[in-house]
Each structure stands twice: as structure tokens, then as C-alpha cells.
Symmetry: D2
């Protein structure tokens, strides 16, 4: 039903309030996205460095339910969903010891990297969405 | 009507897609918040390091309208608003040469730093909200 | 002889030159240090959040031999060494597919967290140094 | 004699030890480098995004003399120096209220962005070095 990414919270993720800096949780969500792409057979180097089609984030939102500390063991569950032929969304739920601590979403547009015009989602992303929805 | 923060996009803000990494725009919004606090007379060191009351972000959302590049000159306009006695929100609009490129919001809870229980927003934050709304 | 930390390079680690931003390699070295502490039985939350003795970095240096890309599989080998009773150093070597790509060092002082005066390295850090040197 | 960059320490620069995370000082040094390039008339967007010649950092070192806190007002003085026709170094000294708190150096190689082979430093970088040494 979803992909799970395991991540220990690092010192650099925290701030002087003693907990994780809010925007860094979105970075951890993006890591989970990258890991899920790789697991489905996508080469990250080609995907992120010199693609023909790119999938920039056009919207993100996040809720924080509990403080997150250095050393905490995060379990990030993600599930992607096609919105239109040129858009997909990823939902993230983050747990520590089975308690949900944060929830997020990113919306991605599919664009031609040169013209930055809308393009159809590629077959490999289509497959990634399908595979993660069948698990 | 609002506070404006000026910020040049730095190399470290970008990623290998050649534009600013999405979560870094939220960091720039938080910088604008910090600057607005300081301008209204709040000592950032005390505010962020050893406060009695803290204002952790419990929700954030952001929309991206245009790609943002290294060297771009950002103008971040922010306006805070009280939601309840224990919550406030900040709206951010980011412009490059008068064109809006991104829009964001952060919602902050007011909590006792030791017990992490809800507390009323402090007088200095109250004043900050009022002052920024009168400009 | 040393501890090895495995780390996939993430999109957020890169910059618009298409490779990892230089200072982020030092962050990855620090992650390896944290992982090695945890493996030797140290609780990261207590170690980094509210310690009596802290080990701030007083010097760091790093050499870069090859460009590092998003998706690259890093192998970080580290070995700590006691310099004096109040100082230790950690050497890091970073490999991709058995080729060294970077080399770094961090020097840490042992200080009382309240007075920021020099203090003897704790027994747990002493043990961590010994254990990693016996492997 | 040198270029000075002014920078307020931000919440995101700190970690749960309550002070600036070590590697972030190197990021602030790089910001000073970018600002000095821009002041000497170099377009940062072209310089960092699609250059023919790039100047990756091949070595960096840094010393920390004092803890640095959120809200601190940093004054970063930098001075570049040509080492060979294909290499330059930048020295950085960071002050808070006239007290030195950190000192760093970055060494940059001049390379062809496509072949990654050594190339002579460009005329604009040559001029930047000369201008900053005459101030």
C-alpha cells in the first residue's frame, strides 16, 4: 500500500530550540521520495541531473503533531497518486515508534526541462505510481 | 501593511536541477520572520535560545509559481495574524522584480517551553502582530 | 580498524553546479560520527541535547578529489584518536566504489556545557575511541 | 585590503547544542564569496548556473574560536589570492563586535565544466582578485 523509508534524525536537522527545524522534515520527505524512486529501478543520477522531463514541486504542505529530537528513529510512509496526466501528488506520514508525528504532501508538475512547458508524466513515473499503489 | 525582507538567493539554496530546492524557500520565509521580530525590538538570541514561551510551527504550506535561480533578488513580504490567544499565522508573498514567484503560510502555536502545554501569546508577540498590521 | 557509514547522496546535498555542495560533505562526515557513537551504545538524544560535557568542533579540514553526484553511494570510513585528555580528532575517508573521493578531519574539544571550560573527555567517549581503534 | 560581508545568524544555522552548526559557517563564508563576486560586477546566475569555467572547492579548512548564537551579527572579511594560473585561495576572518570568532580558507581549482580538466582562471576572476587586493 505504501513505501517506507527509515531515517535517524541527525544533529544537523535540529535547531537551537532542541528539536528538528520545521523545513528539514520536508527534506526528509523528499529523501523518502528519492529512495522510493531508486527502489523501483530509477537511476537517481539521470533522474535528477540531466532529465528531459522534470517534476518540480509546485505545492507542499505539512503538519507537525509532536516535537522530533536528534537520534529519533523516523519511519516515513509515502504513497504517490496521479492527479492529471501532467501532475502527481505524494502523501507522507511520519511515525516514531508507531505514533504519528508529522504528515505532509507534495504536488509535482511534469515539465519539459528546456521549455518548462507541461508534459505528460513519463512511463517510468507512471510505473512507480502503479507499483507503490499495489504493494 | 506588511514587512519586507530582501534576500539574494545563494548557491547553497539551489540543487542540481539548477533552481532553488523547494524546502529552502520556507527557510527564507523563516528568515523574514526573524528579521521582522528583530526590527520590532525583539532580541533574537533570547527569543530563540532560552525562552519561557516558544512558538513552534504546527503547519506550513507553500506554492511555487516560477523557478528561482542563484543570484535572484527576492523580496519577501510577510504579514502576521492572530488566530486564537494561543495561535498565530504568518502569510508570505515572495517577489522577484514585482512578479510573485511563491506564496507561503506558517501557523505557530504558543507553548510553555518546559511542559509543552498551550500558553497565551506573549505581550511582545502581540505587539509585533499589531505593529506589522498598522504599517 | 575503523567504522564505516553508508550514505546515498540526496538531491538536497547538491547545488546548481550539479554536484554536492562542498560543506555538505562535512555534514555527512558528522552523520558518520553520530552513527558510530550510536553503534557503540551512546544515546544520541542525551548526548546532543542536554549533556554535561559537550565536544564542539574547534577545527575542520577537508579535501575533495572527485565530483560527487546525486544518487552516489558513499562509504565513509572514520577513525577517532585522542590528542590530549581534553581533545580528540576524527579522520574520515570517503569512497565511491572503492575510489577515494574526499578526505576530512574534525578536531573536538571537551568542554563543560555551562562554563564552556575545558574538561576531561568522558569515559563513554574514551571507550568509543578505544573500541573503534580495536576493530 | 579586503571585502566585508555582513550577516545575521539565523535560527536554521543553529543546532540543538544552541550554537551554529560547524559546517554552516563554511556556508556563510561561501555567501561572502558570492557577494564579493557580485559587487565586482559578476552576474551570479551565469557564474554559477551555466559557466564554461567553474571553480570547485578542492580544499577547505576552518577554526572556531568562540561559540556563535542565533541573532549574532557576523562581519566576514575575505581576501582572495592567486596560487597558480589554475588555482586561487580565499581567506576568511569572521568577527562579532570586533572579536574574531572563526577563521577559514577555501582553495578553488579552475576547470572546464565539460571535461573537468584544468583551465586558466578567467579574466573576470583575475580582475576580482586584483580589485579585492587593492581595496
Amino acid at each position: 500500500m505504501s513505501f517506507t523509508y527509515y531515517r535517524t534524525v541527525r544533529f544537523q536537522d535540529t535547531d537551537s530550540a532542541g528539536v528538528v527545524y520545521f523545513a528539514n522534515i520536508l527534506k526528509i520527505c523528499h529523501e523518502a521520495y528519492e529512495e522510493s524512486l531508486e527502489v523501483s529501478g530509477i537511476n537517481l543520477k539521470y533522474f535528477f541531473l540531466n532529465p528531459k522531463i522534470a517534476y518540480p514541486i509546485i505545492h507542499a504542505n505539512i503538519d507537525f503533531f509532536k516535537p522530533i529530537y536528534c537520534g529519533d528513529k523516523l519511519e516515513v510512509q509515502l504513497i504517490p497518486q496521479k492527479v492529471t496526466n501532467e501532475k502527481f501528488e505524494i502523501s507522507y506520514e511520519i511515525f516514531i515508534a508507531d505514533v504519528i508525528v508529522s504528515k505532509a504532501m507534495t504536488r509535482h508538475a511534469s515539465i519539459d526541462i528546456v521549455t518548462r512547458q507541461k508534459r505528460e508524466i513519463s512511463d517510468e513515473i507512471d510505473r512507480w505510481i502503479q507499483v507503490l499503489n499495489q504493494r
